[in-house]
């Protein structure tokens, strides 16, 4: 028992370290940190003091957005801190901080000696970025209420709270599983061999496969859980979110962590939507609804109200 717990803690710390490492690594030994500041500034921190003449020369820096390397951003001012370890670059225009920027620093001079050229990537704090993807998929761009996907299953399984929660949990597990597999397949097989046009065929096949796999594994490993959630597994394939997420991942070229966050957000977002809807529909059973509106029509009107409420989240950005 005790060994088990220690094992768990070890695995957890390992994962946290991996996350942290992906978060703030710079690509040069002499540069300790690069980060955005305010709207139009980039701050670099060096390991040692740099020469003022070198630091103040605009020709030593070139900055562009990762997406379009042809457009160099114009630097208007360079400030050096009194201890000569921190350089602040001020740009003419506000920087689009959602994009990663590439900063090339040529021949860094420190105490009369060159420290070589560094090519640095400037991006927002990675944790914050991942978190914003998660919350974005979950609430701000909720797949059901703002993207209008997965409606068939949504209306089919939101009559009772227990069903709704069961479906939501099953769906979250399957979508994370399926989209990670399809991300891997897309990045390492379809893209290198220029088979992008097979996206639809491959993804739908993969989704059916992973549903079948979850079915088989769950049946053997945890029969009680299978009894509770097995019925929903068939419905998962009929949900268009499960095929939409891999397509979005492929379109936006997300990396592994971002893909994980997006699929997790999509799954939990669906769970939230189902739970909200089922809470209302349980009350609706007791209400006096006109006969022609009973059942689906009134459910659609309720969903419309939810969608209006979720519209209030649009345009919100975290970090």
């Amino acid at each position: 028992m005790r060994m088990d717990r220690r094992h768990h803690i070890l695995v957890c710390t390992f994962f946290i370290w991996v996350l942290l490492l992906t978060g703030c690594a710079t690509e040069h030994r002499f540069v300790k940190k690069v980060a955005f500041k305010d709207k139009n500034k980039v701050v670099m921190t060096f390991a040692g003091p740099v020469d003022e003449t070198w630091a103040k020369d605009v020709a030593n820096y070139s900055v562009y957005e990762k997406q379009d390397p042809d457009i160099l951003l114009k630097i208007t001012d360079i400030a050096l801190s009194p201890d000569k370890r921190t350089v602040t670059l001020t740009f003419e225009d506000a920087l689009n901080q959602d994009q990663a920027h590439i900063l090339t620093v040529t021949e860094m001079m420190s105490a009369g000696r060159s420290q070589g050229t560094a090519i640095l990537t400037v991006k927002k704090l990675y944790f914050g970025y991942l978190f914003s993807i998660l919350i974005g998929a979950m609430i701000i761009n909720n797949f059901v209420f703002t993207k209008y996907l997965g409606l068939c299953v949504f209306f089919g399984t939101s009559q009772k709270k227990t069903t709704a929660v069961g479906m939501g949990i099953t769906f979250t597990i399957v979508i994370v599983f399926a989209s990670m597999m399809s991300w891997f397949l897309y990045q390492f097989v379809l893209k290198p061999y220029h088979l992008d046009f097979l996206q639809v065929v491959v993804f739908i096949g993969l989704v059916s496969l992973s549903v079948q796999a979850v079915d088989t594994i769950l049946r053997k490993v945890n029969p009680a859980l299978f009894k509770a959630f097995g019925v929903y597994l068939v419905l998962v394939i009929a949900n268009c979110i499960i095929i939409a997420v891999p397509l979005i991942l492929a379109d936006n070229e997300y990396n592994a962590w971002e893909s994980l966050m997006l699929s997790l957000g999509a799954g939990t977002g669906f769970l939230i939507a189902l739970f909200l809807m089922s809470s209302v529909r349980e009350k609706l059973e007791l209400a006096n609804v006109p006969p022609t509106f009973r059942g689906l029509p009134i459910a659609f009107v309720v969903a419309g109200l939810f969608a209006l409420a979720f519209l209030g989240f649009s345009g919100m950005s975290i970090f």
């Binding site: 068939c152 006969p291 419309g304």
Partner: protein, 206 residues
């Protein structure tokens, strides 16, 4: 179920009226809510679905004797996915602007319940000709429903039809909002229910 005894004409009309995919069977709701903001969108997605439905129905009707019953669902899915890829590439090549407006929905035709359902219920038991007419009826029914929704939303929301200015003002901008799709589909369904109730009452009275 034995092969159908209906004539081709009955099959054709069945899909448009009695078993309209959106208003009667309540299948494929996502596009009905998501992109029915204009008549043009409805028409294009309708054409895409019509194409996929007819071709998949015919393909399955052709090869139905060679499909083992246990792998029939994966076979349907892959057949649909193939035809969706075809129409996706064609639309992207010939109408790039409208294709962009429809976004991910063209690729999502692969997950539309209506197509798989028609293959399972009809095409795998009937001849190619019957399946053709059934698919055509269902596809046109879908197109009809999408265009009706698009008509109401475009006219009331933007005051235009097919991009031409008709009213000169915007009566209810609310309908151009995506959320209005839910309300409109709900209202349409209620209307169809009401018509059915009235129709049955009349029949009983006579």
């Amino acid at each position: 179920m034995a092969p159908t005894t209906k004539t081709n004409k009955e099959l054709f009309v069945n899909g448009i009226l009695n078993e309209n995919p959106i208003f009667r069977l309540a299948l494929s709701m996502c596009p009905a809510v998501g992109i029915s903001t204009s008549v043009m969108n409805g028409l294009l997605l309708g054409i895409a679905v019509l194409f996929v439905q007819v071709f998949s129905s015919c393909t399955i009707a052709l090869i139905k004797d060679y499909i083992h019953p246990r792998i029939r669902i994966p076979t349907y899915t892959l057949t649909i996915a193939t035809w969706v890829t075809v129409i996706d590439l064609v639309l992207a090549a010939y109408v790039p602007v409208a294709y962009k407006a429809m976004g991910i929905f063209v690729k999502l035709i692969v997950a539309f319940a209506i197509i798989t359902m028609r293959l399972e219920m009809f095409a795998c038991k009937n001849t190619v000709t019957a399946s053709f007419w059934d698919g055509l009826g269902m596809g046109l029914g879908f197109m009809f429903a999408m265009m009706t929704l698009g008509f109401v939303r475009e006219l009331l929301g933007m005051g235009t039809l097919l991009g031409y200015d008709i009213l000169g003002f915007r009566p209810l901008l609310f309908f151009a909002l995506p959320a209005a799709g839910f309300f409109l589909v709900g209202l349409m369904m209620a209307m169809f229910n009401y018509i059915e109730v009235v129709y049955n009452r009349r029949k009983k009275g006579l």
